[in-house]
Symmetry: C2
Subunit: 279 residues, 2 copies
């Protein structure tokens, strides 16, 4: 913190240490314990200074250990932006103009995993909980992509976790966007096809009731697949792929223009490779 | 709230009203103002009862008006799950077993908008802020998909907002996943192609410095596109599409198997339609 002399009290009042962002805002990351009243005085003095400096958005990141300061920030006009298990991010907008604070993450990402071997057998599971519990329906493995995890990594990980089968990622065959799925958030579900690199199933004990290789005809013949258009559409994509006539999107590592980090670009590489390269 | 008699004090202690979820958990939505100490007593009695009932996860949704209760919940062992401007969601795990609390949304979703007319002119803009400000680079319009918003709706909305041009959504040509983009979250960026339904540009004043139709050759010839592999890859997809030899994913409304709501399933409809339908 910096020390300044408050105009009102002539007492030294500390200011919060803010780091400027590229949108004219200030970010404060609180770390040390602070008394409620001291925090209020410090926050008021800091906002007053930022206002004079023409700052716009003010971000305060409060680790959960400093939960005693949340109420103070809200009473000074801050609101919640987002939270993770270890911290709460609060935000305040200084100018009169409408706020341009970016929204928090809006989507969760899931994968459906179509693993098929050379005998046209498909890897299927029954789960111990969830929507299909006790229904007798054999489903393809599914899972959630973690924050910071590549879709293809998540696909390989989930198959391995649920069934012990090692796989190679091939393509995204299609994807679905849906809304109000969890905590009001939207969902992107990627249907992926993978090639098995092993065949002996070792199912996960806590979540998986049963796992096996099933002829794809038997999978498709299940009444759930026949009755529900989305399940049928997913099966149609898989069949088209097996028949060799369907190009999905394959991941191509591509460097970010800014950081140079490699990120996966998914595209129809079959069509791209046969396409003339110039206009 | 329900009334029970506490074993310790023989005083009536109210219990929180919880709604059971399908994973053996309890959800509490706090609405009315409550004194800090009363909340603590109520929370303790409620958790004791839920523990006896074998409940697992406990969710408490606190509207921002009840910020005075956040500290109490954290001191009783709750942690932050997620937050939105109007509320904070806290969670607690009763059993000894490892918690299976689902993660919060992990991705933001963006769109890159390739709008091309019959003269092979592309709709390009220069922005008033951001990475390309002052660089002279003409970029395709981009934007963020809102929570609850369809990708194709967001695509049409962003082009209209930035340039006034009405469009018809055609295809997703490819998408990129990247990490640590905003607040530690990951990002999915969909490159979309749209057909313009109008031609007179009316640029947005606050964000857009300039907007125009540009021959696609001139767009591609820009040094940024030539120097950066990702920008070049995006341009290659667009050129392949214009040449008529590239199939992206088109949205097909498909009913959810559970709610019956229509959600967009994106797939290679060109290949699917020419594929034999059976195994």
């Amino acid at each position: 913190m910096e020390h300044v002399v408050s105009e009102n009290t002539a007492q030294p009042v500390e200011l919060l240490h803010g780091v400027e962002d590229r949108y004219g805002g200030v970010k404060v990351e609180m770390k040390d314990p602070l008394d409620y009243d001291v925090f209020v005085a410090t926050l008021r003095a800091s906002i007053s200074q930022w206002r004079q400096q023409g700052k716009k958005g003010v971000w305060i990141k409060l680790p959960i250990e400093l939960v005693n300061l949340v109420e103070a920030a809200v009473k000074e006009g801050f609101w919640y932006h987002h939270a993770e298990p270890t911290y709460l991010m609060l935000v305040y907008w200084i100018p009169e103009s409408p706020n341009t604070i970016p929204a928090n993450a809006s989507h969760q990402v899931g994968v459906g995993l179509f693993v098929i071997n050379d005998k046209k057998e498909m890897l299927v599971v029954q789960e111990k909980s969830g929507k299909f519990k006790g229904s007798g329906f054999w489903k393809f493995p599914t899972g959630v992509v973690n924050e910071g995890e590549d879709i293809r990594e998540a696909a390989i990980r989930e198959v391995k976790e649920e069934t012990g089968i090692k796989t190679e990622f091939l393509e995204v065959l299609g994807f679905r966007q849906s809304h109000q799925v969890i905590f009001g958030k939207s969902d992107l579900f990627f249907l992926c096809i993978l090639r098995p690199l092993s065949c002996d199933i070792k199912k996960q004990e806590t979540e998986i009731e049963a796992a096996k290789w099933m002829p794809i005809e038997d999978y498709v013949a299940q009444s759930f697949v026949q009755k529900h258009q989305l399940a049928k559409s997913f099966a149609d994509l898989c069949i088209a792929k097996i028949n060799g006539s369907y190009a999905g999107f394959t991941p191509v590592p591509s460097p970010s223009a800014y950081s140079g980090k490699l990120f996966d670009l998914y595209l129809n590489s079959y069509d791209l490779n046969k396409s003339p390269a110039s206009l």
